[in-house]
């Protein structure tokens, strides 16, 4: 099996682990972290294709990952702030209870 | 991988020659491993001993700074009455720490409680990997060395949190949060004070930064960054931020032993506590080494005629000098309050570091100026340092003058 395939397998499995986690857990923080994992899986893909792609000298994959990391950091900050706001409102952070637009 | 030393005196080349000689004994496929292992062992040995003597030096120096004698008793155990100026004190301390009972609270998270001190030592040792200890004497040559340094340094925060949380003691946890708040808020000025150097040198690699400071004007004015306006000021900011980052007095309020019983380390005793202690000194040494590399010319000799002294000796001398300064500051300054601490970081150091970044940019842009324009360059750069310093320094005390103290009189 070529290393590229291994990398892609790793990334897709990590994506699915993140997905299952986001789907199965009721804790909003863990759901967010699952989503973070999915983002990381995408980053792994970028790096893998940069490494084994036709034009590694361009560095587009690396730059894309850098931007994705920045965006993920922003997402984590805002997401967790939202979690705290939800907690203050409903005294727990179970995602399935956060289903009202009003209140 | 192996850098062969072709230049310099024998002393200069000695460590590399020695290493290569030892590596030759190993079979070829294992040579890379041996190469690294030797480096690791050398660092552990040198800085382990360095740590041991830093502790005793700190205690003796603190004593002298406060008109005391400091430890001077510990001698050799098998010679009755030997004192050796107390130089064997650290070994006695080590024996004590090792033989003390290791208390783990019943409710603690055993695994994390154990892992925290191990991790904190590991991470603080990792930062040594990118310090250039001498000419061609750097454990790992990395292109993004500074980034690596800060990445490894920021991982210690995790260990602090683990220590506080795993103790299952709400005071430890709160103290860990305080420590984190301090370390995180001072990471920003620390990095911002480093960025100007990166900007001027144009590289994140520590060895290149050290190399860039080589050379002398007229043979006796070294081209160290600390001798430029922005570099001097950046060095000051770096010193303060490094003090805060390594939890040293006057910023030692996360573990203020008199008020908080060592904060997040309350539930640690014996050897684990000693590990934290060690990690703290390693962190201090690493940050000092970084400061030496970035601002004090790394392993470069101060004068051209002193170049015969090997580069690693210069590095160690500067390192000792810097740690000496830290000890001096500890022996002099009072502990800050938490509000003063955060105000200093956000209202003073961060804006100043940003202005200094602009200053360094100006310096880099005007590197072509010569003749009388040199004076303009220096003048503007100094004004950019002094003006904001005075203005923001005034703002720091909220427009009030010096505080007057009234003492209880009887």
């Amino acid at each position: 099996m070529s290393p590229l395939q291994l990398c892609l397998l790793l990334s897709s499995l990590l994506f699915c682990v993140g997905l299952v986690g986001a789907l199965a857990r009721s804790n909003t923080i863990l759901v967010l972290l699952g989503v973070e994992l999915m983002l990381n899986a995408a980053n792994i893909n970028f790096i893998a294709f940069w490494r084994y792609g036709p034009n590694p000298a361009a560095g587009t994959g690396v730059l894309f990952v850098l931007f994705a990391i920045a965006v993920a950091a922003a997402e984590a900050a805002v997401g967790l702030a939202l979690v705290i706001a939800v907690y203050r409102h409903q005294k727990n952070i179970r995602l399935q209870e956060a289903n009202r637009l009003k209140g | 991988m192996s850098v062969t030393a072709e230049a310099g005196t024998f002393l200069e080349r000695a460590p590399l020659v020695l290493r290569d000689a030892v590596v030759q004994w190993f079979p070829a496929p294992l040579q890379w491993l041996a190469h690294h292992l030797i480096t690791i062992v050398a660092i552990l040995a040198v800085f382990g001993v360095f740590f041991a003597f830093t502790t005793v030096a700190e205690r003796k120096l603190l004593g002298r700074l406060q008109n005391r004698l400091g430890p001077n008793r510990a001698g050799l155990p098998w010679i009755k009455g030997s004192k050796l100026f107390g130089l064997t004190q650290p070994f006695a301390d080590a024996v004590k720490a090792l033989t003390k009972e290791d208390i783990v609270p019943a409710a603690a998270d055993k695994l994390l409680h154990f892992l925290a001190p191990v991790l904190v030592v590991a991470f603080s040792l990792m930062t040594f990997a990118v310090l250039p200890f001498g000419r061609n004497l750097i454990p790992v040559e990395l292109d993004a060395a500074l980034l690596y340094f800060f990445a490894a340094g920021s991982a210690t925060e995790l260990a602090i949190f683990m220590a506080g949380w795993a103790s299952r003691n709400k005071y430890s946890l709160l103290a860990a949060m305080r420590a984190l708040a301090q370390v995180i808020s001072y990471e920003l000025p620390l990095m911002l004070s480093v960025v100007p150097v990166v900007l001027v040198v144009g590289s994140l690699s520590t060895s290149e930064i050290a190399l860039a400071q080589g050379g002398w004007t007229f043979g006796f004015l070294p081209h160290w960054h600390v001798f430029t306006p922005w570099g001097f000021f950046g060095f000051l900011l770096f010193l303060v931020a490094a003090l805060a980052e390594s939890n040293r007095a006057p910023f030692d309020l996360p573990e203020a032993e008199s008020e908080l019983i060592a904060g997040h380390l309350t539930e640690y005793s014996g050897f684990k506590y000693a590990l934290f202690f060690m990690a703290e000194y390693f962190g201090l040494t690493a940050l000092s080494g970084l400061g030496v590399t970035l601002f004090l010319g790394g392993w470069q000799a101060p004068f051209a005629f002193l170049e015969f002294i090997p580069s690693y000796a210069w590095f160690m001398l500067k390192l000792i000098g810097m740690i000496g300064f830290f000890i001096w500051a500890r022996g002099t300054l009072l502990r800050l309050r938490i509000d003063q601490l955060t105000r200093l970081a956000w209202q003073f150091m961060v804006p100043l570091a940003l202005i200094n970044l602009g200053n360094a940019a100006f310096w880099a842009l005007t590197s072509g100026w010569s003749g009388p324009l040199q004076f303009v360059r220096w003048g503007v750069s100094i004004a950019l340092v002094v003006g904001p310093f005075i203005l923001l320094g005034r703002g720091l005390n909220g427009g009030r003058g010096p505080r007057t103290y009234r003492y209880a009189t009887s």
Binding site: - | L61, G63, R64, L65, Q66, N67, R68, L69, W328, A329, G331, T332, L333, F389, I390, G393, R394, L396
Partner: protein, 233 residues
């Protein structure tokens, strides 16, 4: 300007650093086991029992087992058993004496109340601070033999106070002798015997003031002890 204070402080400690190597007068500590700094006279650690004669400590204890100290002691570390018979005390009057007098110094907090309330100037505060021991019951629970210290020792640690006490006791002894003479002179006059005690009280103060005024809390002369004690409390 910001930072000038820091520089000043650094200069001070730097001066300390340099000075500590050539100016012994700067040093604030001494090399303890070899050198010792002189303790202040009013330093106190744990109680001791004063006896008059070092050769016969048990026979010349000033203590009359009145048990006031035992009652006053806040942590209650004093234990006293009275004797059945009487012996003459420092003033020559026959008094009870303690058969058991024990102080648990591991409980004692060194407050010095016992010494203050003692009407007979018997219990005083010692200056010994090296009391580390390996066994609590033999070395920290002190009995009367271990507690008894001769008056000369008391003089060596608290010279001023001891001089006052001695003067006071001498005066009391003198008064007692005069009283004895007066009693002998008025042996026939039985009716006058009750009246002698009262003039004696105003007679005492003139001899006491030069010393007693120095310390306002010092107990009144021994002969009048029970009364002065009730006044103090």
């Amino acid at each position: 300007m910001l930072g000038s204070g820091i520089l000043k402080g650094l200069a001070v400690t730097a001066k300390n650093f340099v000075g500590s190597y050539h100016d012994p007068a700067r040093m604030v500590t001494v090399q303890y086991p070899e050198e010792r700094s002189k303790l202040p006279e009013n330093y106190r650690s744990f109680p001791l029992l004063v006896c008059e004669d070092a050769a016969d400590p048990m026979g010349t204890l000033r203590c009359v087992a009145c048990q006031i100290c035992e009652k006053e002691c806040p942590p209650q570390c004093i234990y006293i058993e009275k004797s059945k018979d009487k012996k003459p005390d420092a003033t020559g009057k026959p008094q009870l004496y303690p058969t058991v007098f024990a102080i648990d110094t591991s409980v004692c907090m060194g407050c010095g109340i016992c010494a203050e309330v003692c009407p007979f100037d018997s219990i005083k505060m010692d200056q010994v601070f090296e009391v580390a021991a390996t066994d609590r019951f033999t070395e920290l629970l002190l009995n009367r033999e271990q507690l008894a210290k001769p008056n000369s020792y008391y003089h060596s640690i608290h010279p001023t106070e001891a001089a006052e006490v001695d003067a006071r006791l001498a005066a009391a002894r003198l008064a007692a002798e005069e009283k004895a003479k007066a009693a002998a002179a008025a042996a026939a006059a039985k009716a006058a015997a009750a009246a002698t005690a009262k003039p004696a009280a105003p007679a005492q103060p003139p001899s006491a003031p030069p010393t007693a005024s120095a310390s306002s809390t010092a107990p009144a002369p021994g002969a009048e002890a029970p009364k002065s004690y009730s006044r103090v409390s």
